[in-house]
């Protein structure tokens, strides 16, 4: 049986981020968002509100989208994380990235990494079919520029396989 960990010190934590394993020693109050940005220098994931109200920090943990600002990194020891930096493969943009560009689904771009991670999570979940369902299930990502219509277009394009198959295995 595993032994409980009880510590007032930094905690050794291993995370697989975009297929690269990282072992870090961190205080328990470091959020996944701050770990990604401040320690692993993966600044693609954005800090919007830092309170779970905007979705800019959305990443995929074991294939599921969550708000990285509300998750203590030490609680994820052993997890597989995917951030926006992990979407491009061999110099090729991911279909969601291409769809966002082609649909003009951003203006300032600050919410875009979270939108794309969220859209991948939506696809993995397999619960959205109609336009209304896409809008509802993308509602955890705010866009202050108001590009919602085009974001929904981009997600719809990829979801309905108008570009290429891309459903990912969720663990």
């Amino acid at each position: 049986m595993a032994v409980s960990l009880h510590t007032t010190n930094d905690v050794e934590t291993t995370l697989r981020v975009n297929d690269v394993e990282h072992t870090v020693s961190i205080p328990p109050w470091v959020t996944l968002l701050d770990l990604l940005r401040e320690r692993l220098h993966l600044t693609g994931t954005k800090k919007g509100c830092d309170h779970g109200q905007c979705g800019a920090c959305t990443v995929l943990v074991d294939g599921r989208r969550i708000n990285s600002c509300l998750k203590l990194a030490v609680t994820l020891d052993g997890a597989d994380i995917k951030t926006i930096e992990g979407f491009e493969q061999d110099g090729e943009l991911h279909p969601l990235q291409r769809a966002f560009i082609e649909s003009d689904a951003l203006q300032c771009g600050y919410c875009t990494p979270g939108q794309i991670c969220s859209a991948q999570g939506l696809i993995n979940e397999g619960r959205a079919g109609t336009r209304e369902e896409i809008r509802e299930l993308m509602s955890g990502n705010l866009c202050r520029c108001g590009a919602y219509t085009n974001i929904a277009d981009a997600v719809e394009t990829v979801l309905h396989n108008k570009r290429q198959p891309m459903r990912e295995a969720a663990e």
């Binding site: 595993a2 960990l5 205080p27 309170h51 708000n67 998750k71 969220s118 509602s139 955890g140």
Partner: protein, 337 residues
Amino acid sequence: MIPFDYVRAASMDDALQAGAEPGVRFLAGGTNLIDLMKEMVERPRRVVDLGRLGLDQIEPLAEGGLRLGALAANADTAYHPDVERGYPLLASAILAGASPQLRNAATNGGNLNQRTRCLYFYDVATPCNKREPGSGCGAIGGVTRNNAILGTSEACIATHPSDMCVALAALDATVQVVSSGGARSIAFSDYHRLPGDQPEKDNTLQPGEIVTSIDLPAEQFRDNYSYLKLRDRLSYAFALVSVAAALSLKDGRISDARVALGGVAHKPWRRRDAEQTLIGGEATPEAFAAFAKRLLEGAVGHGGNDFKIELAERAIVRALTQAANGTPQSQSHKKIA
């Protein structure tokens, strides 16, 4: 966030032992607790992480009904076939709340134990009897749009923010908890409490106790139900008023009726005596309107939330009508039928 010591519990015994002292908070999904710690509303000395304990199963109970593990994610609960098909009122209420990201992280036990979103509870520069007993209530005489109209006290007019709990109240769920002294069951209506002169107590969970599951009884209300949530935007906002309505109909008459309200009180608001007046009668708008008046008896506005009284009355009639017609409110196609 104020530094704390961290315990990753490998067993329930370890969790209970680590949680037996004052100043400890149990951590599940973290979607509310971590936020409150950033706001300095919660300042635990120690955080006990329950994430490795399992308790995430959803499984039928031998005597009928369904057990929802306390650490199952809200999303996994709403989308579980036995919930989605068996208890659609609960699935609908869960999907009306928060966002997909939050529902993926937030747990069932955590949903019960989340704190109010009263603005003054969150703002540590203002008085709040719930956050700092005896300091006063900033909400009374302040901005009250999201505050309670029923069951309030001079000390507190906060609401419980959950959608899931409104459905659990209507379904007569039972909360299973464990402590170093053993296990006990709490009827859902006894779990959350009214503020009275102890608003710092949201519920009847005792210090050191951990929720292990939420049990649903066999009665499912699969055919005649609706969860109607009204809020300031169509998605990703807390309820101003929500209604969980469930009916059993037999030969055109009501044989059982359950109605719980969210967004109006310190706990999901139900009145069995009012529900009794519907039983044996026909499912008509007039009967529902009379019932709504009864359920709202004693409602008092505080200025910014006066509108909630009429809004709740109308929402009750609408939700019961949707339930009676077998046309529950969709949580993605937002038009209210």
